[in-house]
Symmetry: C2
Subunit: 336 residues, 2 copies
């Protein structure tokens, strides 16, 4: 059984949609997941059916971190919040993964603090799956690091590469650098320096710069960018998909075209990919969209299961651990 701690209090629809997601996960994959709903017991009980499946249990946490709170301050002031309690379970080895649709900043800060960073990794990053015409592309960073250094971006590429290898079974994930042109000289100082670092890393399958229009073509498996651009793109993508399908809905007869539209929604729906892993911390910690549906939560549980099963964290340790060739290369880069 894969043991998941799920923040029942985080997200716009919490606790109801979170609990619905947990219920549908344990129903769809029986004997695979044991889900601990972390939060205020009365509020959780109110949403649970009379017959609670055996795979679901409640872990009490009396406090809730709100979206507007300063992440670091919130986790210090609220030691009995669902985020801190849930990550405490993971730290203590009582669960194998933690999932939250609450404040991404607070989950990041608490994960860093409670789980710690993987040896050699400087900053955690959030990777988000973008649907494309082929298999999805992991965009790192999608909002956690607004102003990263080129060395950080190199590490995001390395972490993303392990993630896509483990999760999608890609042997050599293709790494692309988001840029405004194909030539290595394009995009300003940060992009040029990052291009060189990616090019020089022999363990990465770097395919060069990727321009905006080549993302949905599936030009790479991991798209490296700073969190400002990544966050803008992510939010823009979701809204454009809704906008275009909205234009269509106004003009097409739903009786006739309903199935086609639903298929489009599915193709471009972030919920299909569930949550976004926090990469670089010492444990499986998954952040979900604040507006997550029950289906998104269910899929986040599936993603957490895949991270656990593939030994993602151990693979990242092997990639970055002090004994590896990459660590030696890294020390050389840092000394420059």
């Amino acid at each position: 059984m894969q043991r998941i701690a799920l923040d029942a209090m985080g997200g716009d629809g919490a606790p109801r949609v979170i609990i619905e997601g947990a219920l549908s996960a344990v129903r769809e994959w029986p004997d695979r997941f044991a889900v601990s709903l972390v939060g205020i017991p009365e509020r959780i009980h109110a949403e649970l059916p009379a017959e609670v499946p055996g795979a679901i249990q409640i872990v009490p946490a009396s406090e809730v971190v709100e979206g507007h709170e300063s992440p670091v301050r919130a986790i210090r002031r609220k030691p009995d919040s669902s985020i801190v309690v849930g990550l405490g379970l993971l730290r203590a080895g009582e669960v194998d993964a933690f999932i939250s649709a609450g404040s991404t900043g607070a989950v990041m800060a608490a994960s860093r603090f409670l789980l710690g960073m993987l040896p050699g990794v400087e900053r955690p990053t959030v990777g988000t799956m973008f649907p494309t015409s082929g298999s999805p592309v992991l965009v790192v960073d999608s909002g956690a690091n607004i102003d990263p250094r080129p060395t950080h971006l190199l590490q995001f590429a390395q972490l993303g590469s392990v993630y896509m290898r483990d999760l999608l079974g890609l042997e050599r994930p293709r790494i692309g650098l988001l840029n405004v042109g194909e030539e290595p000289s394009k995009g300003g100082a940060r992009a040029v320096a990052t291009h060189k670092l990616l090019q020089d890393d022999e363990d990465l399958h770097f395919v060069g710069n990727v321009e905006g229009h080549r993302i949905v073509e599936g030009a790479c498996d991991v798209l490296v960018c700073d969190g400002f651009v990544g966050n803008v793109l992510l939010k823009f993508y979701e809204s454009v998909a809704g906008f275009i399908t909205g234009v269509l809905e106004d003009r097409l007869d739903p009786e006739i075209h309903g199935e086609g539209l639903r298929e489009v929604y599915r193709t471009v729906d972030y919920a299909e990919y569930g949550g976004a892993p926090l990469l670089g911390v010492n444990g499986v910690s998954i952040v979900c969209h604040g507006a997550s549906s029950a289906r998104a939560i269910k899929n986040a549980i599936r993603v957490a299961g895949a991270c656990i099963e593939s030994d993602m964290v151990e693979d990242m340790v092997a990639e970055f651990g002090p004994a590896t060739r990459r660590a030696r290369v890294w020390r050389r880069i840092r000394r420059r």
Copy 2:
């Protein structure tokens, strides 16, 4: 008559689609435009019909700037290129506007050099219209300035505001700052400093930060961002629109849904807006997408006409000229 110099040699489909665009403009709006096709006469003649409309004439230019050339070097080495000759006509007052689908970098460099900057304006910017659910939003900068300073971004907002006032007749265009959150503290040093400058400019109708998902909602009329993000967004938008309509086409019966799909294409088609004005130079200089269709060229001619008719350049001079209150504010900012 509005006199337009059109670079017949620039763009993927040149000279054929450029000439087609010119022909359809003078047919659609007779007695409004006189178009000078600038380029290699034999190649232009080969694409013209036997009966050339009186509103079309050819201005010879023996050289062509290629996309891969360094912009500044190319315009120096090719004084008889269609870009330099066409902008020379504008500088000499023989035409009222210049349009090119060739190298944006070369058009920018040559416009700056031949037309000069408007007094008080530090850098030219390219503004591109994004279709939204309401009226379009002008994204400045959409690729010309990869790493602008906050003071540059303030000027882009001011130029964009005049453009949208003159072109769309908006009384007080709403200015938004592209960012990763709504709070003024979001987005790193550049965004925070720019937010303050925009907030402090009493002549601008600043509506605050705009996140990625609010662009297509029409949250603002002018969206301010650096050219890296703007360029990535622009290319991404075009491709996502194509991707989603492609998904639909695969699943819908074109016999039944053809009209709906065509409507979607029109809604999200950049060609509807034609070209992007180069803002801040002393003249109407319009850059078009390299892949411009004849319809995009025709619409760029229409946009050029609107710029001429509304006295856009004169209005910008009034906005930035040394006698204005804004110029005094600007001098104060620069002294800080």
